[in-house]
Every structure is written in C-alpha cells, then in structure tokens.
C-alpha cells in the first residue's frame, strides 16, 4: 500500500508477543491494590477537599483506614456514611478532626451498605458518563480541528497566565492544550488542592486548576468554533486519582504510560502496573484519549539505535490499554523526532519510523513528539527542524502533533514561541497537505529498508523480553538502559495485597460499561 512492504505476519507476531508479555503481569495486578487506587475510589464516590492541615481528604480517609485497605475502602466508607448519616466529605472531615473513628465495627449491615454503595456508584458513573456525553455533544456541535491535531503546552507555573496563553494559542490554531505539571509533582503521594500560581517548569495539577482551564477553553472553543481539548499528566504516584479528577472536569486526554513511572521516575514497578490498569479503565469509561511516553526513551538513548524500543513500548502500551478497555481511537501511542539533525538521511529515517508506526497502528491517533534533545540556542536551526518535523507529521498522518518550540533549549515556551510554532505547523501542513497521497515509498529504497529493519529488531527484542519475563527484563536494564527492581523505587509501601473480601465497586461497573467483564476478570 504505502510501499513500505511490511510483513503482516510479523506485525501479528509482534502483537501476540506484547499480549504474552503484559499478561505475565495480570496476576500481580489482580491480587493487589494501592493507596492511590483506594483514594481514587473515594474520589469517585465524591470525596474532595483538604483538612485544616491541607491534607487532601482522600489521603485522610485512606490513612485512617490503612489497616483495612486489603478489603478496599469503599464498603467501609459507605457503611460509615450510613451509620453517621454524613456525606462523604463530612465524614472525612470529622475523621480528620478525630471526632469519629470508623476503623472498628459499625452497625450498618453489609447488604444495606452495599446497596447504598451501589447507588453512589451508579450515580457517580452517571456523572462521568454525562461529562463524556457533554464532550461529545460539544464536539458534534462545534466541530474539531482536523488531524494532525495541533498540541501545545503551557507551563508558566501560574494557572492564570496559563489561561491567557492557552486562550491565545487556541485562537491561533491550537487544537489541544496541555498544562505541564510542576517539576516533582509526580513523586508526591497526594494531590495538591486549589488554584495555584507558583510552579517550576510547570503548574500544579489540581482539580481547581483543571476546572479553571476547562472553563476557559470551553469559552474559547465557542469563539473559535472548534472544540479545544485539554490534557494533563496522570503518571506518577497518583496516576488513577488524576484521571478521576480529569473524568470529572472533562479533561480530554491524559498522559498515561504503563511503564514511564517505573523507568523515568523510579516508581516501584508493581505500584505502577496496578495504578496504570485502574487509571486506564477510568480513562476508557470517560472517553479520554491517553498519551503514552515513548519519546522518553529517546532522550537518553540514540534515536537510531533505540528506534525498536519505541515500537516495543507502543505495543506493550497498546496491549495494556486494550486489556483496560481502551479503544484504538483512545490510544495516543507515542514516538518522537529525535535523530541527530547532522546525520545524513536522518530525515528519511524519521519519515520511515513515522510511516511504519502509522501502518502498524492504523486506528490510533499517534502522538508525535517534536525534536527536543538536539534543539540548541540556534533558534533559527531549531525552527527549521520543527518544520521538517511538521512535514513528517502531515506526510504520515499523525494524530496528535506536539508542536516543537524554537526555544526548547532555553525556557518553557514564551507566548510568541507558541505562536511561531503554530504558524510553522500551519504553513507546512497546509502547503504539503496531500503529500502522503502524492508519493509512494520505493520498496527497495532506504526508507522502506529502514522500517523493515526496525520491525525485525523489535521482534527480536520482544522475544527476549517474553522469554525473560517483563519484570526481569526491567531489572535487567533492557528498557532505556535503566534497571528497576520489583522491591525498589518509590511507592512500594502503598501497595497492598487484596483480601478475599476486597471490593472496588467501580472496577466492576466500569468493566461492564466497557463490555470487557471477562477480560477484566483476569486483571482486577
């Protein structure tokens, strides 16, 4: 078709390998919960806010119930609400003030509590589905940008400045706004609260900030006559909780990678695998698109040598995502334009990689990251690197084009850096709109050879990972040259083995809603 002449059989084998690899982890995920999964359940039940010491109420309650996490916090909480006739927030506040203690036995009967809990769950799921249908109806009435969607970041640290810059970007052609998180937030085991104006290299991800930005974008969407999507970052120690906030506040996309936290943030592997599964179910139900983080491999590895690790990670992410009920259109699988610009034919290799991924994942809106590593103080060179990146984007029909900034090597984007990035992309993509259908890859030329080569390397790599086991391969430093052990990393203490009585009521109804009950029973 495209002339790359990729072997269908090899692609099938790649997917089988990926499924084999991810299913190695399912017993682990099924048998454990984590503090953040439990906090997400509470958030899903409607808990929000902080106590007098600024501790988020979900943390208060989970800390309070630390002895009972093995059973899940949902039922106990529902019981207590019935028992004390309190809303979930009132309950948590009173616990924080040590006015009540719910760790002991409560009068409420289990069946009463279960009924009450199911009611809450129904109602809350309804809320999330309502948010989803709000999004859908806004898109159908306003329309949306055509792909590749123009994705830009705001990162001033101050949500109010972020809002101004996001609005300006939307007016100038952005389809997607990502509010970058402040340095280090991914390592906090709680979610900051309220509107924030101070951050380093990014802005705190809080529910209030989400709300403020979403409402600004709704407004500007109407002005532009185009639905503008909002993105934030789920990765880190609060992965599912952030997705819950996003589900309520109508975020449209979420950075959500199955292994990013392990490799690039040194978060415990078991913790991450558990968190990612539940977080992705919530993503799936709320109709969000996830973005995976394959670009991160190329910030340390060489983009030519490491090309197959990108494809391998995409396949693993896809497999985990499928298991959690995400549809192909919800999988913003990642890759990046990071080949050294001084390499002869480097552009052709970038193009090869992009066309190859497009062919392997035909239904997914690939998320394409711009040059960053080789950006320098030469803003002029950087600007044309971004132009070639945009050309590859339109050529290979990427889904989500993360626009490169000419000042990437200096600072988080200035207002006009973002404007220039949008202009760059607009010019290149419009001026070469139908380039994909104008040319066929020469099947014996360098572009096709390269793509077939990357597939072979990936096959070999995944075979080894499968044989060795995913956790063992990670320990072995097979991914990103980084070694992480099952016992190491942050957040392991927040992993709890489930009891036989464990209940996460949302997991079940969500699996039903997603029509993946059977598959899900292997995972949760």
């Amino acid at each position: 078709m495209s002339g790359l002449n990729l072997s269908k059989d090899k692609i099938t084998e790649l997917r089988i390998l990926a499924d084999d690899i991810t299913s190695q982890i399912s017993p682990l995920i099924k048998s454990h919960t984590t503090v953040t999964v439990e906090r997400s359940v509470l958030r899903l039940m409607g808990l929000d806010g902080v106590d007098n010491d600024d501790v988020p109420l979900p943390n208060v309650l989970v800390n309070h119930l630390s002895g009972e996490l093995k059973n899940g916090v949902a039922l106990k909480t529902a019981s207590a609400m019935l028992h004390y006739r309190l809303s979930i927030n009132e309950l948590a506040e009173k616990i924080s003030n040590k006015e009540i203690d719910i760790t002991g036995d409560l009068k409420t009967s289990t069946s009463e509590a279960l009924d009450f809990l199911n009611e809450i769950v129904e109602q809350q799921l309804e809320t999330i589905l309502q948010v989803r249908s709000d999004r859908e109806s806004m898109i159908s009435s306003l329309g949306e940008g055509s792909m590749p969607w123009q994705y830009v970041i705001v990162a001033t640290g101050n949500i109010h400045e972020d809002v101004i810059q996001a609005r300006a970007a939307a007016l100038k052609g952005a389809d997607i706004i990502a509010v970058i998180r402040t340095t280090g937030q991914s390592l906090l085991d709680y979610i900051p609260y309220g509107i924030t104006t101070e951050g380093f290299g990014g802005t705190y991800a809080t529910q209030a900030n989400f709300k403020l930005m979403r409402s600004a974008l709704d407004e500007v969407s109407k002005e532009c006559g185009r639905y503008i999507r909002l993105v934030n970052y789920a990765s880190g120690l609060c992965m599912p909780e952030i997705v819950v906030m996003g589900a309520f506040e109508r975020l449209d996309m979420m950075l959500n990678d199955s292994m990013y936290g392990i490799l690039f943030r040194d978060i415990n592997p078991v913790r991450t695998f558990i968190d990612q599964y539940f977080s992705r179910m919530i993503n799936a139900v709320s109709g969000m698109i996830i973005n995976t983080g394959e670009d991160n491999y190329l910030t340390t590895a060489d983009a030519i040598e490491g090309a197959h690790t990108v494809l391998a990670s995409d396949l693993i992410n896809e497999s985990f995502a499928k298991a959690a009920g995400l549809k192909p259109w919800q999988m913003g699988l990642g890759h990046a334009f990071e080949i050294n610009p001084d390499i002869q034919d480097g552009f052709l290799m970038e193009l090869s990689q992009a066309l190859m991924l497009r062919e392997i994942f035909p239904l997914s809106p690939l998320k394409y990251m711009p040059p960053t590593k080789f950006m320098s103080g030469d803003i002029f060179k950087g600007y044309i690197m971004n132009a070639l990146f945009n050309l590859v984007g339109v050529w290979s029909n990427q889904g989500i084009q993360l626009l490169g900034m000419l000042t990437e090597a200096m600072h988080t984007p200035f207002l006009h850096d973002r404007y220039l990035a949008l202009e760059n992309s607009k010019y290149v993509m419009n001026n070469a709109r139908h380039i994909g259908e104008s040319f066929t890859v020469n099947p014996d030329g360098p572009v096709a050879l390269r793509a077939r080569n990357v597939i072979d390397e990936t096959l070999e790599f995944l075979r080894t990972v499968k044989d060795e086991g995913l956790l063992e391969s990670i320990t072995d430093g097979k991914f990103a040259d980084i070694s992480r052990t099952v016992e190491g990393g942050k957040g392991l203490s927040g992993v709890i083995k489930k009891s036989d009585h464990y209940l996460n009521p949302f997991a079940k109804v969500m699996a039903d809603n997603l029509k993946i009950s059977e598959e899900a029973s292997k995972w949760i």
Binding site: T156, N158, H160, E161, I164, Q165, S376, G377, D378, I379, F380, T407, A409, M410, H411, T412, P413, F414, L415
Partner: protein
C-alpha cells in the same frame, strides 16, 4: 491581567517580565571573550539576565550571537501618538457611489515609481485592473481614471503628466530604500510639486513597504501607505480627502 498602559514592558510568559530576543554579529572571533563582550554589550542596552544562547563562528573572524535577556525599561504607551489616516474604509461599490454623489465626475489619479527604482509590483497593486490579493486596482473602479506610468520615471515627467491631466491625486511609489534613496527621491518630488502650484487641488500620496503615514507627512505628502495597503484604502482616502477640501470641512 492588570496591564498598566503607562508602563508597558515586553511579555515573555509573565506580565512585565521584559523578555526580548536579539541577534547580531560582532567583528570578533568566537570564544569566551567575544561571548562576554556580547553579553556586556546587551547589558549596556539596559538589559538584565542576559543569556548568550548561541555564539557561532561565521567566518573571517566574525561571530554571530543569539541572546535572550530582560529589559529593565518601560514605556508610557499613553504618550505615544500616531498620525493615522482618518478616512473610513469603503468598498469599491461605495467608492463609486460616493464619487457620483460628491463630484459628478471621474477622479483622476496619476502614479509612478520614481528614480532608478524599477519595482512596479507595488504601484501596480494599487492602480492596475488586476489589483492585489483579491482587491481590484483603481483602473477597475468606474469612478476613477487611473494612469500608471510604471517604473523608473523621473519626478519631472510624473509632475508634467499630472499637470497635463489635471490630476486629483498623485501616487508615488518607492521600494528600494538602501542608503535612504527613497527619502531623497520623495523629497525631490515634493519640492518640485511645491514650486508648481498644484498642491492645493492635488493630493500627494507616497507608498511603499518602508513608508507610513507619519513619514509621508514629515516629507510633505498628504498621506502615506505602507505594506498591506490596497486600492480600496487609497480610493476611500482620496475621495474623502477631496470631499473635505471641496466642502472645506
């Protein structure tokens, strides 16, 4: 955002952060010394947090720099006044109607690109049938008689033609600006026009990519049009200015 118009500063990503980008070449070889010279040079311009983000050897002992820095100065924007052309912009149709209504005759316009300057595209854009960027030129307006003498016309010939046709307006184009040749040419023409006595009944208009109304007024023209002007802008102005002069308003 609380913008204080009396104290405006550049905006990078926070109000009044003063961020600016500069690039320039110094006749010094690349190295730590010239980088420091570049840094101090920019600091001397009233900038803080000067970061020389690029220094490249560009041959023959020259170094090219890209610098980001924060200016400490502000400007009171309320004290800045520009002399904008005060006419309302009309469509071609309205222009034609107004000409009928005001003058009951055609308006005659003569134009040229004067001096050694051979760039006709600009004056053609205003005057010729075809126009530019979807805006038809004056030739296409039934209310106008437009005579375009083209390029490399001497001031004498342009003036002679205008007098001969009793022109309502003269359009002078200047594109080449090296060594301020456009200022010389425009001045020469206006001085010639001044001595000829046509100024009272004829509007003098200058145009070109480096011309604005302020500069044109300074040089003694009635109006100036820069990059991005179209025939309708010029037509509207001419009609309204002629009408003003006629009615003494």
């Amino acid at each position: 955002m609380d913008i204080d118009n009396k104290s405006i500063k550049p905006y990078g990503d926070t109000l009044n952060d003063g961020s600016m980008q500069l690039s320039f070449t110094l006749p010094l070889p690349k190295g730590a010394h010239s980088t420091e010279v570049a840094r101090r040079f920019v600091a001397q311009m009233g900038m803080n947090e000067v970061e020389v983000v690029l220094s490249n050897d560009i041959g023959e002992g020259f170094t090219f720099f890209v610098v980001y820095a924060k200016t400490s100065q502000t400007i009171d924007s309320t004290q800045v006044h520009v002399q904008e052309i005060v006419s309302k912009k009309w469509s071609r149709e309205v222009c034609n109607e107004k000409i009928d209504e005001y003058f009951h005759r055609k308006v005659t316009v003569v134009g040229a690109c004067i001096g050694e300057d051979a760039h006709t595209v600009g004056i053609d854009a205003i005057m010729n049938m075809k126009g530019y960027n979807g805006h038809y030129g004056l030739e296409r307006y039934k209310g106008f008689k437009a005579i375009n003498l083209g390029a490399q016309v001497t001031p004498e010939i342009l003036l002679k033609k205008a007098v001969e046709l009793n022109a309502d307006a003269i359009l002078v184009s200047q594109i080449v600006t090296q060594r301020d040749i456009h200022i010389q040419n425009l001045t020469e023409f206006v001085e010639l026009a001044d001595t000829s006595g046509i100024r009272k009944n004829t509007i003098l208009i200058a145009g070109g990519p480096r011309i604005d109304n302020g500069l044109a007024l300074e040089l003694g023209y009635d109006a100036g049009f820069g990059r991005g002007s179209f025939a309708d802008d010029v037509a509207s102005y001419i009609i309204q200015e002629l009408h003003r002069r006629l009615t003494g308003a």
